[in-house]
């Protein structure tokens, strides 16, 4: 029998209580620990979720809470450092990683993260040191070696990066990722051939390595091998037609290669897949802008704006409005953008550009000046210089270009300086500037433009046409060349060609007002009937030289273009003649002329004139024609025949005197300033007489338009077969004439074909003949294109000779109107 005493009972109870306490407490503690563990897990997950939604601050807060509760929670500490680095709190992240490393100095994972954060913080030297340590600790870690190479290349230590990558490739030739990185460094160093070779090797070993094919395409495009780049990209697109990233690159290369149609087709493809792809919409807009399709460009930019109303898109719209000549809308939009971004220099510059295109030069110059006062920007300075040149402030413009050149400006400025000097008609300086630009850049297009300009200014018309066409073929957006060519065509009356050139310019630059005006004038001349109506008074009086002319004429001349090469003219002169020895005579002269121009090579015309008189004077029928051709692109030869009446006195008119004149004349443009001319004519007179006249002249331009000053000397020798009393018919009669002419253009918009000209001129001629009679002629004139289709002019001269041998007066008032 077992005896139970109190002591035993107490002991048993104590044991039981202890057991329950310890074991139960243990269970409770276990349960509590499990719950705490779960809480930490949820907190970790919560922080991860915050990190996932890039709310790194909240994530960091969560991790900090965990770390505060458990400083040894390495995962939480690592998570904290990670999110601090993602949140770009690099200093704090670095501090956390450093703490972890101080506890565990050889923790490669943390070392790698720390190295990465140093590299993101652009502390490349520190990052490089850590990566080097990692690769020392684990020499087989090719990944870290590759990262070391990356950081070295970011730090600009390309040679070391190449060494690291090459080292990896020596041990693992098949490491295509590293080969691609090495290729990228080579392409960064512009060692494109090496990069291409590497990429080709990668592709050879792995023809499906899309990244390598893409890299090869990139390198080829940077090396301006656009066709090859496009071909390379197309290999990817053929396999993956939905690879929009590569399609975008391909499209961009097509647009750099000026293959706008293909570029548009590719961007269109992207837009079919995603009509709201802002970048593709902007790119499409830009391509349309570059190819002059402004409405389409606007449409794309507006679509882009509907998706992303960013400053970039707003500026693109305002600029497109400006390029398309919708200045008011553009200015309004710019003002709106400026209100919101008053200190944005990019917006200010674009606004100034718009004002300049709208010819508000003063305002544009003021804004450019403001921008440049705030800080030097070579691009703005260049634009400022451009606008000064458009404002015809050539001297200031050239000074600014010279400054830019001194500051190291490139080809654009060198070329523009040469062009502006040309606009300022400083031809020699311009050619010198072209040569300097060519010597510095060795760009054949500059040389070609220089040769074309030289030919144009020296009136080597055919050479100029050929050079400009060659240049435009190579640089199809060279508006400067196109405009010069349009001027050559216009002055050569090659209307079809001129029109086509103007249209090309306007396609590229619709706001090109000179081309617009040139085209308008070309169309007026080549397609519209013109009436020239004038009053002409002429008086010539010489007792000793048988001259007795005083007439008033009302002249109507109708010019009818038939096509671009052929035109017809009809003239009617109603003249009242007053003679000292005969009563007043009324005369009607009707002249018909047909012209055919095959510029710049040859021109031909034929004419018929009928004279009818009052007072029973017989009608006279005259006719003639001429043929002009250009020889060796140096001179114009003109051969003409014309039956002309004599009109020096009543006697020759009443007697129906006339002469048949055969004439040859040559005009040579020796240089831009020096012109030579020579002529010979033989006239057979009725009643019988004949005349040989030979002459030569030289003309020199001291200055060019708009302040043209010329001097001319002419020598002529005149020999009649016999002296008659009816008209002045000397033998061995020579004349030396010196002429000086001043013409000042007051044009608002510059001098070019199609401009509304307004000028005055004054001339003085002094002649001394073989009889030592000197004559002085004073001439003057005014001309004004009031509109494109309406002009007025007034010209006249007075000639007096020594000892009153002869005197002449003439005044012509005319107006010109295009229907």
């Amino acid at each position: 029998m077992i005896s139970i005493n109190k002591k035993s009972v107490f002991a048993g109870f104590s044991i039981a209580v202890s057991f329950v306490t310890v074991f139960g407490g243990g269970i409770c503690a276990y349960g509590s620990a499990a719950k705490e563990k779960e809480t930490v897990q949820v907190k970790m997950l919560l922080s991860e979720a915050y990190a996932q939604k890039k709310d790194y601050d909240s994530a960091a807060k969560g991790y900090r809470e965990i770390v505060a509760g458990d400083p040894w929670n390495v995962k939480a500490r690592e998570g904290l450092a990670d999110v601090l680095s993602y949140g770009k709190h690099y200093d704090e992240a670095i501090a956390e990683y450093e703490k972890m490393l101080s506890a565990d100095p050889d923790n490669l994972v943390v070392m790698k993260k720390l190295a990465a954060v140093y590299s993101w913080d652009k502390q490349y030297a520190r990052s490089i040191d850590i990566y080097k340590k990692i690769t020392e600790l684990d020499p087989k870690d090719a990944g870290s070696k590759a990262l070391l190479g990356d950081v070295l290349s970011w730090a600009g230590r390309d040679e070391e990066a190449i060494g690291v990558y090459s080292g990896i490739l020596e041990k693992d030739a098949g490491n295509m990722k590293v080969a691609a990185k090495l290729a990228a460094v080579y392409s960064h160093k512009k060692e494109y051939a090496k990069a291409v070779r590497l990429y080709e090797d990668i592709i050879k070993s792995d023809p499906n390595n899309v990244a390598a094919i893409e890299g090869l395409g990139d390198v080829l495009s940077w090396n301006e091998k656009y066709d090859e780049a496009i071909e390379t990209y197309s290999r990817i697109v053929e396999r993956s037609p939905d690879n929009t990233a590569v399609i975008k690159k391909m499209a961009a290369v097509c647009s750099w290669n000026k293959n706008y149609d293909k570029a548009k087709a590719l961007f269109q493809k992207i837009l079919v897949a995603d009509p709201k792809d802002v970048n593709a919409l902007i790119a499409m807009g830009e391509i349309c802008l570059w190819s002059g399709e402004y409405s389409a460009a606007l449409e794309y930019f507006e679509k882009a704006r509907a998706v992303d109303d960013s400053l970039k898109v707003q500026l693109a719209i305002a600029e497109t409005l400006s390029y398309s000549g919708r200045y008011d809308e553009s200015e309004k939009m710019f003002r709106g953008i400026l209100d919101k971004n008053p200190s944005d220099m990019r917006v200010k510059t674009a606004y100034a550009d718009c004002l300049a295109y709208n010819k508000k030069y003063e305002e544009a110059e003021r804004i450019y000046n403001e921008i440049l006062t705030a800080g030097v920007d070579p691009e703005v300075k260049r634009k400022f210089a451009d606008v000064l040149s458009w404002h015809k402030k050539y001297r200031e413009s050239i000074i600014m270009y010279d400054e830019l050149i001194k500051e190291g400006a490139g080809e654009t400025v060198l070329l523009q300086k040469a062009r502006v000097l040309g606009w300022a008609r400083e031809y020699e300086k311009s050619l010198k500037a072209y040569d300097e630009a060519y010597q510095k850049t060795k760009d054949d297009k500059i040389k070609l433009e220089m040769e074309a300009k030289d030919a144009y200014w020296s009136a080597r018309v055919k050479k100029a046409i050929s050079k400009y066409n060659e240049l435009i073929k190579r640089d199809f957006q060279n508006v400067e060349a196109m405009f010069d060519l349009s001027q050559v065509y216009s002055y050569q009356r090659m209307w079809g060609e001129a029109r086509s050139e103007y249209e090309k310019i306007l396609g590229l630059a619709p706001a090109h007002f000179r081309a617009k005006e040139g085209l308008e004038k070309t169309d007026l001349i080549s397609k519209h009937i013109r009436l020239d109506s004038s009053y002409d008074y002429f008086e010539s009086d010489s007792q000793s030289r048988d001259s007795d002319i005083r007439r008033h004429s009302a002249v109507e001349k109708l010019y009818v273009p038939i096509n671009d090469k052929t035109s017809f003219e009809a003239e009617d002169w109603m003249t009242e003649r007053m003679f000292s020895d005969f009563s007043d005579v009324f005369e009607n002269r009707t002249k018909l002329r047909l012209n055919y121009a095959n510029g710049p090579d040859w021109w031909i015309d034929g004419m018929y004139t009928a004279y009818t008189y009052s007072k029973g004077i017989n009608t006279m029928h005259n006719f003639g024609g001429s043929f002009t051709f250009r020889a060796f692109d140096l001179a114009l030869f003109r051969s003409s025949y014309e039956r002309e009446r004599l009109e020096n006195s009543s006697e020759v008119i009443r007697g129906g005197y006339y002469k048949d004149t055969f004439m040859e004349r040559v005009d040579m443009d020796l240089t831009q300033r020096l012109k030579l001319g020579g002529d010979y004519s033989f006239s057979s007179f009725h009643p019988e007489n004949s005349r040989n006249l030979a002459g030569g002249d030289v003309l020199y331009y001291f200055s060019f338009d708009p302040l043209r000053f010329t001097a001319k000397y002419r020598y002529s020798y005149d020999e009649y077969n016999k002296k008659v009393i009816e008209y002045f018919s000397p033998k061995g009669f020579t004349t030396n004439t010196f002429s000086f002419n001043w013409r000042h253009y007051l044009n608002k918009n510059g001098m070019f074909f199609g401009a509304n000209d307004i000028y005055y001129e004054a001339g003085y001629d002094v002649s001394v003949d073989s009889t030592y009679i000197a004559s002085h002629r004073f001439s003057g004139g005014l001309y004004w294109d009031i509109t494109k289709s309406f002009a007025v002019a007034l010209n006249g001269f007075i000639t007096n000779s020594s000892v009153d041998v002869y005197k002449e007066r003439r005044i012509i008032a005319s107006l010109k109107y295009y229907f």
Partner: protein, 195 residues
Amino acid sequence: MRAGIFIAGLCALAVLETGAYYMTQGADIDYYKGRAFFETANYRTAISFFEKTLSLEPDHPKAMRDLASCYKWTKNYAKAIPIYQGLIDRYPNDMKTKEDLGDVYAWSGEYKKAAILYREAMAGTGELKVWFKLAEVYFWDKDYPLAKKITEGMLKKHPNWREARLLMAKILHYSGDADGAIKYYQDLLEDKKRK
């Protein structure tokens, strides 16, 4: 003397009985020995006993199941699967074995096969645990919409089921709905504070 003969007889009988027992019940003996090791997580030793059992009685269902479980816990899935599959072929209504085989497939990454088995097991038993496993296996298989749908079903019936809420948070988290996940995580943490 008689007493001695009686005792000797008893001893002989005991020896005979013992011999007979070992000769006829060897399989069970080894099974229970194995079972003892199995329960102390000494799977390698347990396996040797279960294998002995099965060498004596190849159709010993308990030994088969426990052997498969040993393989499962020692991550020797390739050996576990045919044993479980054999059991299921023999006992098609054994939902526990289906669940076990589902576990093996789930742990070895064959989520789709696991899901089929869990679905069958759940249809048979309606057990919450299997329901949860099914949702979990879809989550691991990154079939987040299905995992979410199943978890939503669980939460509809048991809105306060903490594990299911955590699973739902993870599903939302990994399917990219960070905001939704954060809400669940915060709820879980708040819940904890309230308690």
